[in-house]
Amino acid sequence: MNKTQRIEAIMEVVRILAGMAIAYLVALLILIAFSNDPVFIVKQFILGPFSSPRRIGSIINLAVPFTLCGLSMCFMYAVNKFNLIGESIFMLSGCIITFIGLKIGANMPAVILVPLLLLIGAAIGAALSFIPAIMDRKLNANVVVVSLMLNAVITQLAIYILRYFMKDPGISFIGSHETHAAMQLPTILGKMRVGSGVIIALIFVAVISIIFFKTSFGWKMRIVGSNPKFATAVGLSTLGISFAAQLAGGALAGVAGATEIMNSYKRFQWTASTGHGFDGLLVAVLAKKNPILVPFGALFLAYIRIGADVVNTSGDIPNEFISVIQGIIILLVAAESFLSGFKNKLIYRSVQAEKAGRKDK
């Protein structure tokens, strides 16, 4: 690594951290500006998530689906296809694995049932992300628009399945029957009540990292994403690789939905899109498509989300403001010109210094 490359790498990290810091400051400013009791609210937002072991546990629990969805979007983002179908895959996968789990899970041990349901979730995800991917490839239809339209359709389908085939008439809200104990992942870490879904998430982080950085497929995928012309020129099948990456991403979104149901719910009770697909995109952007960094992005997002929830319940600020903050983070981190002047200055200075050093000799 030469000096210029080193500066670029360091600046990349600085940019992400600066983007997160600015967005966090904006969040604090919003709280200060609109709250009747700013000091209390700001304190709640910053420290609230750490105020009890239970809340720390819920940060980790929330980070589990964010991590898996972030990994899913890493695949899409790595080949530069903003296939957003993960949003509805997450919901339909949760719906169908609950349905199947309720049917077959009565006498099955968890060791068989959990992997089986994860596999089904993955299959659903791969099958669904096949649709926008094939339309993009064969019909040249815009993958973003198609996936967003499909999201609306699939979300309604999941609600339909819930209302007509799974609804438990004995409860006051719309939800399925309670799932069997075998598909409710046990909690670990005592008082924090962290679901063991976190183990599933970490296994996937490890596996996906190996695929990204230690296999030829991962290498090809990164080439296709970063320099498609070069990839074509050296004879890589650009279309095939981006197609495979989208299927893998879809499968991961399915795994995410299945894990979330088994980790945090006793019933399937989602009656609207959950937003996890977009959260996954944010995490992937924060992690710069690097699977190893995904859990950290997920933890950050989970932290500000729990902070917003604390503020929402204990104060007068609705937690919707967090989506504005998420938007700002994506914009700042993805903006090429954010801090680019500063980076160029640093590179220029280091080159100048090197030149001066050479002259001295």
Partner: protein, 307 residues
């Protein structure tokens, strides 16, 4: 099930109006070479801007003005992030739409204390419906064409205006040249960035009109997530029409009709509402498939003819 055909056609035109504006908004940036998905969020913001403006300024026209202003401002935000900040346009738009979904709810809560609709807290204002003098007396046609919202007629004029702007004016020519080949345009002294901003300005006006129609004509209040994909549908409409203003309007009319059928069926049948909710989106996907196959076949024929 009985369907009043005249009412159905009138309703289709009404449903198509926000789609026509959305399509025109997307069309303006498309011709400058930018695929602007942010239209969805821009319309949502404008819908809130319009009712808020009408409430605080106390007039319909104040609302219309604020709606358009919100559209323009949000358009310039996206333009700034993409053109000046050099952010990937897809990411910019996704981020913007995400922020708009939550941000409108947040602002609505701050203004009214409600999280789902402004109907309780804000006085409702409606853009007037216009009866066209002679046409309103023609038996069937009168009931379909006359008596629509003022903005529906503005939409018709806008289609012509956009055609004229793009095909007959200097600005239009520059916008198209930037879209066709930015480097060539740059080489003859056209500022790609400046033209990009101008196209976003027009885009903002149309997105603003679309939002204003939704919250001050279709209904007379703002509702959480009330745009519901109309921005994307309008975007697809102009894509299918290959960027032609008149074609986009006709495709929008078709989508308006499918939405209208679905709404009529919802009130009249026991068919699960979930499937009726899907109709506008499924129609869009199917239409995308059909037009894509048509275009690909046409392309293939041209290539074979060339041999």
């Amino acid at each position: 099930m009985n369907i009043d055909l005249v009412a159905f056609l009138a309703d289709s035109i009404k449903m198509a109006t926000p789609l026509v504006f959305a399509a025109l908004a997307a069309l303006m940036t498309r011709h400058a070479g930018m695929f602007n998905m942010g239209v969805e969020g821009m319309i949502l913001c404008s819908a809130l801007g319009a009712v808020t403006g009408a409430h605080y300024l106390g007039s319909v026209w104040g609302g219309l003005f604020c709606g358009i202003l919100t559209g323009v401002v949000t358009g310039l935000i996206i333009a700034f992030a993409h053109l000046t900040g050099k952010t990937d346009l897809y990411l910019t738009c996704i981020a913007f739409n995400l922020a708009a979904t939550g941000g409108t709810v947040f602002i609505m809560y701050l203004l009214t204390g409600e999280k789902s609709t402004t109907s309780g807290a804000f006085r409702s204002y409606q853009i007037p419906n216009i009866n066209i003098p002679i046409i309103k007396d023609i038996p069937i046609l009168g009931r379909i064409i006359s008596g629509q919202s003022l903005l529906t007629y503005v939409a018709v004029l806008s289609v012509w205006f956009v055609w004229f702007l793009l095909k007959r004016t200097r600005v239009g020519l520059r916008i198209r040249s930037v879209g066709e080949n930015p480097k060539a345009a740059e080489s003859v002294g056209i500022s790609v960035t400046k033209i990009g901003y101008i196209s976003f300005l027009f885009c903002g006006v149309f997105a603003g009109l679309s939002g204003t129609f939704l919250s001050m004509s279709w209904v007379t209040f703002f509702m959480k997530n009330m745009v519901n994909g109309r921005g994307y549908i309008g975007l697809s409409a102009q894509n299918m029409a290959n960027g032609s203003p008149i074609g986009s309007a006709l495709v929008s009319l078709l989508f308006g009709a499918t939405t209208s059928i679905a709404t009529t069926m919802k009130s009249q049948s026991k068919f699960p509402t979930e499937f009726l909710e899907m109709v506008p989106y499924l129609a869009t996907i199917i239409a995308i498939v059909i037009t894509s196959i048509y275009n690909i076949n046409k392309q293939r024929k041209i290539e074979q003819g060339g041999k």
